[in-house]
Amino acid sequence: MTDQEKEKEKSAAALTATADATSAPVPGTATKTPTEEEASQYFYGEALVGFDPSEITGSLIVIEGMDGSGRSTQIALLQEWLESEGFAVQTSGLRRSNLVGRDIDELLAKNAVTRLTLSLMYATDFFDQVEHRILPALRSGTVVLADRFIFTLIARGVVRGINRDYISGLYAMALRPHLTFWLNVRPETAFAREFKKAQAISYWEAGRDMSLSHDLYWSFIRYQTMIKREFEVMAKRHNFIELDGEASVSSVNKQLRQRIAEQLGIRATKYSPSAALAHLWR
């Protein structure tokens, strides 16, 4: 084993321990600030405090799409495929940070929060995961599968009247993904799938805070259509790979695997799910 590989193993071990989050920085070892050129390669705007581009050896792969577009199904399958190919995988998603994940759940449940505060709490949740989960994983050569990213957060803010430049500026320090997939489905399809899953539609999924309609169905359709329009705007600007989320799970998965294999520089794209995940394969 080369020294470099040993280093990678060590950092992978540190990642699972998460002790690095609580240890104090050592005086006199301040990291260098990246140049503006380096910053723009990895970030939309400014670089995160203490970021060192030379450490990034993993890949950041984002799957975006509305509720009911099949994101979580695809991520479960991709994780199994990548692990069977020998890649370490880390996942991230909205409201999963240790710092404020649960606080946001509470705010949503109480419905006692203004749109700007909620946006900023989501931003806090996002950057906590970037700094404590995504970046450490990318430093150790891990493939990060992100279940949603800044694009959902930007779209939700913009449809609620928050200035587009403002909210984009908020995420100027977000990492640029290596690949961003957009599973595009019609709101009507998403509604049917979500309803089937839970026999109900949640307050926020239907955008009820926006007073679009008292009818839950129409509220959902109007809200998700507004979000979709924002995605269409961002798709061009940020080079989304748009996939038809209404196609079968296996065909969407095949397209995802092809692009990801290309990104990772591997040939193998053959995959069929294990017994544990076979129920997802429709």
Partner: protein
């Protein structure tokens, strides 16, 4: 018959710069490093106005119950990075801004704020957050009518804090910056950076600089004179509404 349309709200939109006179109220803020005497002075100003019967509301940094538990957890477990530290405080401020400060300004109140966005600019920039990102982050905040900047030499301010407090907290001392293993020394170095950042804003943000070392009552006299000269206090006086 159709009712006359209500006047269009002049409340600022989130993320849009606030026009200087989008509301009838007035906003007075105090800024300065820890130990500069600003909170004492704002308290005395508040008492003066309260005793006079003026319509006012007092608000302080980091006081919204909404994000208090997250901030406490982040600090206890030392989960906060410069970025999340900054965002969490911005979320807290946004909550207060949208639910207290802006409605009160719209409702013709005199609003007194102990620390404002400049605290975030100075402190978070000292932690390494990009200034441009910070400025954008707080773009939704109304610009104060008066920003008092209490300036005290570093040694005096640091002494005031260190002599009065048995133990400095981790983030308060800037231990997350890795400036020194010694808390008191780290605090001093951190405060020096913050002081430097404040000084940079004196001209760009129209600070009214006050000398935090002169006797409390003399300083308060200066503060009251400035408030009386810059703000039409009559409008906030008792029975002003009936007299109109």
């Amino acid at each position: 018959m159709p009712r006359p349309e209500a006047a269009k709200s002049t409340l600022p939109q989130p993320g849009r710069p606030v026009p200087s006179r989008a509301y009838p109220g007035a906003l007075i803020v105090v800024e300065g490093t820890d130990g500069s005497g600003k909170s004492t002075q704002l308290y005395l100003l508040k008492r003066w106005l309260e005793i006079g019967g003026y319509r006012l509301h007092f608000t302080e940094w980091n006081s919204s119950p909404l994000v208090k538990s997250a901030t406490r957890r982040g600090k206890q477990r030392r989960l906060l990075t410069p970025t999340t530290f900054s965002l969490l405080h911005a979320a807290d401020f946004a909550d207060r801004c949208e639910r207290q400060i802006m409605p009160l300004l719209q409702g013709d109140y005199l609003v007194l704020a102990d620390r404002y966005i400049y605290t975030a600019f100075a402190r978070d920039a000292s932690r390494g957050c990009p200034p441009r990102w910070l400025r954008n982050l707080y773009r939704f905040a109304p610009i104060p009518d008066i920003t008092f900047y209490f300036r005290a030499p570093l040694d005096i301010a640091v002494h005031r804090i260190l002599s009065g407090r048995p133990k400095l907290k981790y983030y308060e001392a800037g231990m997350d910056l890795g400036l020194s293993y010694d808390r008191a020394e780290s605090f001093r170095l951190f405060q020096a950076r913050i002081l430097e950042e404040y000084d940079k804003m004196v001209d760009t943000d129209n600070f009214v600089v006050l000398d935090g070392t002169i006797p409390v009552n003399k300083l308060q006299k200066q503060m009251r004179d400035i408030v009386a000269s810059k703000i039409d206090l009559k409008r906030f006086a008792p029975h002003a509404a009936e007299a109109e």
